[in-house]
Symmetry: C2
Subunit: 215 residues, 2 copies
Amino acid sequence: MSDTRLTVGGLVYPGFELLDLFGPLEMFSLLGAERVAIHLIGKTAGPVPAAVTADIVAGPKAVADFGYFDAPKLDVLIIPGGFGTFPALTDDALLDYLRATAGTGTLLASVCTGAALLAKAGLLDGKRATTNKQFFSLVRNQRDAVDWVEAARWVDADQFVTASGVSAGMDMALAVIARLFGNDVADGVAVAAEYTWHRDADHDPFVAHLDELAG
Amino acid sequence: MSDTRLTVGGLVYPGFELLDLFGPLEMFSLLGAERVAIHLIGKTAGPVPAAVTADIVAGPKAVADFGYFDAPKLDVLIIPGGFGTFPALTDDALLDYLRATAGTGTLLASVCTGAALLAKAGLLDGKRATTNKQFFSLVRNQRDAVDWVEAARWVDADQFVTASGVSAGMDMALAVIARLFGNDVADGVAVAAEYTWHRDADHDPFVAHLDELAG
């Protein structure tokens, strides 16, 4: 850890999905201010809009505390998906930031279509990974060199952890917390959030909806 | 509805709990930009920090799109809880905004300790309501005239809907969406969020933790 506290970042880009980002950050926030510091990271410091489905700037705005070039060293970076993921796939500054962050040993944890960004950056080559069920092929088609897993709530490939759609990010975050702080701490976080933690990474309740929207 | 679209507001005040706010707003955002507009409302327009447990300004910042005095008419207002709730109980401008908003017929939906704000504003007198389990008595002690329900995932009292802690807000939001758009639409939202919807308002998996932290 870069400090006595765990330093957790959340990536923000126009059209990120609210719960992909703030579900996992909620779980980390419940570790308490003595154990964790949370920062939002964007292209530059300042407000960034979330998506409302089909409109990538219609949602609430979050404030990036840092830009890519002045962001602190992170222990964990949460990479949300959302309707803004697809235009972000051609954003070289974002992909470079992901590669540079991975190079410092940060644990990179994607939610939903956020896995497409890690894949496009080449960070998942030869690794197991998963993503949103309803848009699975759209993500898979970004990178053949990834070992895409259809049926998984999340996939833990050590430095790169990828969650299925939206809500799955909360289950993944609890698993990362369990890895870093132990099961009892993760259980306490789930109870404080009144969250019924889906603990089995391999059980995927939504795989029946594979490619329902993405074709 | 104030427009052809549903207008949903999210209240922000220093130390709000991230998932209390963004869990419900995620569910509304999945209705799509053609059916819903989402705005954050604060004391004034501008950035407002969320809580990291025990520190009400340590969390990510969201941007209030409007202040209380220029906020649009809302169909639904989400009222999050969080460690910032307790100082907010003496914020007359906030309580006045809740009363004024209720007066226009807006559906007011609280999550977690957000119910304390509705109670303190006098809006829940004589009504059934619930709140966070671990801090139940702290909230109940704000107002005797409320019919506080210990075991409930959420309580639907028509114009005022109150959810239990944090994650329960997502279940409540889906129930509100089902009321406004029908069950099939709410089911579609839950699947798009890959969220296992807890549908029974009366089943409370966390009531065993009543007052665990608040004593």
